[in-house]
């Protein structure tokens, strides 16, 4: 879009690169875009960190944390994209569905006999807990969407938000802190939360040790991994953390695959059509309520999965992880990437977490490591000093407030996007919904007349 402003030479090179990028099969260009964003992010954080003296271990630790959070976001953003981006279901109760997943998992896998302080659970194996969590989130989704099928988009939004709050308040309430079902003591733990199986230990242990049990020694793969990491001098906890992060990456890949296939199919076409105009879709004989139910339940199940692997990783959840604001962070990530595009969802999650969410605190760390700024306790002191000719206290206060200032940035970005670029920062991506790449389809007649037709002649806007 800014091509014309650049020199001729540069714009030509850029144009040819762009053409080559667009000539790639869709899955390759998607992966390229995601990979490039990830690498760009790593490079930015890595260089900044090293230059300013965070050290290699500091940088890798940050990168891992960012990667983990980005994958966690990507999971939820993908699910939300299915709801909103594809189908136009304005669900702002995401946090609630994540809570259902995480809490079901917690109650299913928690120790049945936790001692006097803990909350008892069913003590089921972790995979069963994960499956139950997803099913429960999907079922709650069904309960929400069934009555809400026919209401307006903004009412749907309020209904989903209110439902998420109902879920959170129920979890917090004393009534459900401990209860009995069929003679078994169960509970949510109320505001104090609940302890259960630690996913970020259990999963790495499966990879590293025989039968997932550290007592039985390493398995073949584990031996190789641990020998190698030992040699380079990486601690075992670090290895475990990275293994969990890789698990998250695999999960994102699987969900991405699933949703790309869902989107690029006649089913996905119906979703888009419902988003555009439900009555017109109905008038073409499509059973739109059924489609909406299916898609809502599927998305909620994925949100449940995300809740389990994200908030439930430490083997502890409490209601504060599911405040409504979480939903809005996820929305920001989706809108940045451009709703309606799975690739955009992942890129949006990366950019949101890496730049917007983790960026300001990271910047604060770097600045504080390198400059000794005064830290006045209030903005008033800073302003007074500024009046006296010394800007440093005010700057110091602002740097201290960077973690809070990022929320102002979030808000400003949302507003700016809604005013100037409602299609998202990456702009509108043309991803026709079909199992075959429709962009390359040519009319048989045209094919006969002119085989070497100009391709991409109808690039939009």
């Amino acid at each position: 879009m800014t091509d014309d402003e650049q020199s001729n030479d540069g714009s030509e090179r850029q144009a040819s690169l762009r053409e080559r990028f667009e000539a790639l099969p869709r899955w390759q260009s998607d992966l390229l875009l995601i990979g490039a964003t990830l690498l760009g992010l790593y490079a930015l954080m890595g260089v900044l960190g090293l230059v300013t003296g965070l050290g290699v271990s500091g940088v890798t630790r940050t990168l891992r944390a960012v990667t983990f959070l980005a994958t966690a976001y990507a999971l939820v953003v993908l699910a939300l994209n299915l709801h909103w981006g594809y189908t136009g279901l304005f669900n702002i109760g995401v946090a609630g569905f994540m809570a259902v997943g995480a809490y079901t998992m917690a109650i299913a896998t928690a120790d049945p006999d936790p001692g006097p302080a803990g909350v008892p659970g069913l003590g089921l194996p972790v995979p069963v807990g994960i499956a139950l969590g997803m099913i429960a989130a999907g079922l709650v989704g069904l309960v929400v969407v069934l009555p809400a099928l026919r209401i307006r988009a903004d009412y749907f939004a309020i209904v989903t938000l209110a439902f998420a709050e109902v879920i959170r308040l129920l979890i917090t309430s004393g009534a459900l802190r401990e209860f009995e079902i069929a003679g078994r003591e169960l509970g949510t733990g109320g505001g104090a939360g609940i302890n259960f199986a630690r996913l970020d230990t259990v999963i790495p242990n499966w990879v590293l040790y025989r039968g997932g049990d550290i007592e039985q020694g390493t398995n073949v793969l584990g031996y190789q991994i641990l020998t190698l990491t030992n040699a380079i001098g990486i601690e075992r906890t670090m290895v475990e953390n990275w293994l969990y992060t890789f698990t998250m990456i695999l999960l994102v890949a699987a969900v991405f695959w699933l949703l790309v296939r869902t989107g690029n199919s006649p089913f996905g076409r119906m979703l888009k059509a419902i988003r555009e105009d439900e009555l017109a879709t109905k008038s073409l004989g499509k059973n739109t309520p059924m489609v909406k139910i299916k898609v809502f339940v599927l998305g909620c199940a994925i949100m449940g999965l995300a809740g389990i692997f994200w908030q439930g990783r430490n083997g502890y959840v409490d209601p504060n992880a599911f405040l409504p604001i979480v939903t809005f962070y996820i929305f920001i990530a989706l809108i940045i990437g451009g709703s309606g595009s799975n690739t955009g969802s992942v890129v949006g999650a990366l950019v949101f977490v890496g730049v917007l969410f983790e960026g300001p605190p990271y910047a604060q760390r770097i600045v504080r490591q390198n400059v000794d700024l005064p830290r006045p306790s209030t903005v008033y002191d800073g302003v007074v000093a500024l009046g006296g000719g010394d800007p440093m206290p005010l700057i110091g206060y602002t740097v201290g407030e960077l973690p809070n200032l990022r929320f102002i940035l979030f808000g400003a970005i949302l507003i700016a996007l809604m005013i100037y670029r409602p299609d998202g920062m990456l702009g509108h991506r043309n991803e026709p919904a079909s199992p075959i790449d429709l962009r390359r389809e040519r009319s048989p007649r045209e094919g006969l007349a002119d085989t070497a037709s100009t391709d991409g002649g109808e690039v939009d806007e």
């Binding site: 809400a148 307006r152 306790s377 929320f407 979030f410």
Partner: protein
């Protein structure tokens, strides 16, 4: 025969009507149970009166805030998710003014202007309650309204005005952005700490005041809240009924397209909407703090869904409905304590809102009242 007749007439009803019937039946049962409990003695009359009074206090303040939300929802046509933060804005601007006026001599200006962000003073030192500093309390009330109006108008100019013709959903999302930005601008200045800017309220005892027939004693700050809220509502009523502007606003809330055709000056009505809506909302925020005695940057955000519930109960666009909805929500939030524990009353309120949105989106009194 009679049974069959009833079944016939029920099956002839629409979903909305059936839901309404069910709701009325539910309320009837609850009222009957309440009377039973009062008669049997399960529920002491004094605690019943306390619930009622607290319901009135909460309901009035929610109703006050709901008026603004209902007006913007119908006239600007979007669900304004930053409305809760306008409540917060009113609370912070108002109490800042109260501290600046009331704390002269007791604390430094730097401490007062940021509501004790430096933790240098306390409400005890400033001794801010209505007997000690009536002027400060009144000044705060006025500034809360003016400050919130200014903030709302600036936001409208910067954001919503550029989006007049955007759909409800883009506007809703933008309002979420406004909510976040506004909330953390407040945090930037005042910090994240929850504070208590008010000194404990003085009380009136029934022994000295014969007109206090329903209770032993009443908090003066609550009394101020009730009186100011009712006064503002009466003022609003007069404005809507007696002035040309009020009529234009009612017409536009009722049917914007029709109003546009008949040549109502849109932008002037929108301006008036923000002035009245934000003013009342700011006052509500200020009064909430006067009553609850705590103030945090999330104060309004946490109330947002309750305010929405009031608006939806009353029917979106209905100003009197919003007040009534607020009172119902306030009453329900307190009266429910008779049956369920305190941490579930809000669940009941939200579930009621969800049911109304699904089965009776025009609100409880939809079609009965306009404006």
């Amino acid at each position: 025969m009679a049974m069959v007749d009833i079944r016939d007439s029920v099956s002839g009803l629409t979903l909305e009507e059936r839901f309404g019937l069910l709701l009325v039946a539910g309320i009837l049962i609850m009222v009957l149970d309440l009377i039973r409990r009062l008669v049997v003695g399960d529920l002491a009359f004094t605690s019943f009166m306390t619930f009622l009074w607290r319901g009135l206090v909460d309901g009035l303040v929610i109703g006050l805030a709901a008026v603004g939300l209902s007006m913007t929802y119908s006239i600007l046509r979007f669900a304004n998710f930053s409305h809760g933060d306008l409540v917060t804005t009113g609370a912070f601007t108002g109490w800042t003014a109260a501290w600046v006026v009331g704390g002269i001599g007791a604390a430094s200006f730097g401490s007062r202007i940021l509501l004790n962000a430096d933790r240098g003073t306390s409400a005890r030192e400033i001794n801010l309650h209505v007997y000690a500093e009536p002027l400060a309390i009144v000044a705060g009330l006025v500034v809360a309204a003016i400050g919130t109006i200014i903030v709302a108008l600036v936001i409208d100019r910067l954001v919503y005005r550029r989006m007049r013709n955007a759909g409800g959903i883009p506007l809703l999302i933008a309002s979420v952005g406004v909510a976040l930005a506004l909330r953390y601008v407040i945090v930037f200045f005042y910090g994240e700490r929850t504070r208590g800017p008010v000194r404990s309220t003085p009380t009136l005892s029934a022994e000295n005041h014969a007109w206090l027939i329903w209770t032993d004693s009443v908090a003066v700050h609550q009394l101020i809240l009730v009186i100011s809220a009712i006064a503002l509502m009466i003022g609003l009523h007069l404005l809507l009924q007696r002035t040309k502007l009020g009529k234009a606003m009612r017409a536009m809330a009722d049917n914007r397209d029709l109003a546009l055709i008949t040549g109502i000056p849109t932008e002037r009505v929108i301006l008036a909407t923000w002035v009245i809506g934000a003013g009342l909302t700011g006052v509500a925020g200020y009064l909430i703090v006067l009553e609850q005695e705590t103030l945090g940057f999330n104060t309004g955000w946490f109330l947002l869904l309750l305010i929405f519930a009031a608006v939806i109960l009353g029917g979106i666009g209905s100003i009197y409905g919003a007040i009534a909805g607020g009172l119902i929500i306030g009453m329900a939030d307190n009266m429910m304590l008779v049956w369920i524990s305190g941490d579930l009353t809000r669940v009941a309120a939200f579930l009621l809102m969800i049911l109304i949105l699904i089965y009776r989106p025009q609100g409880l009194f939809g079609g009965v009242e306009t404006a």
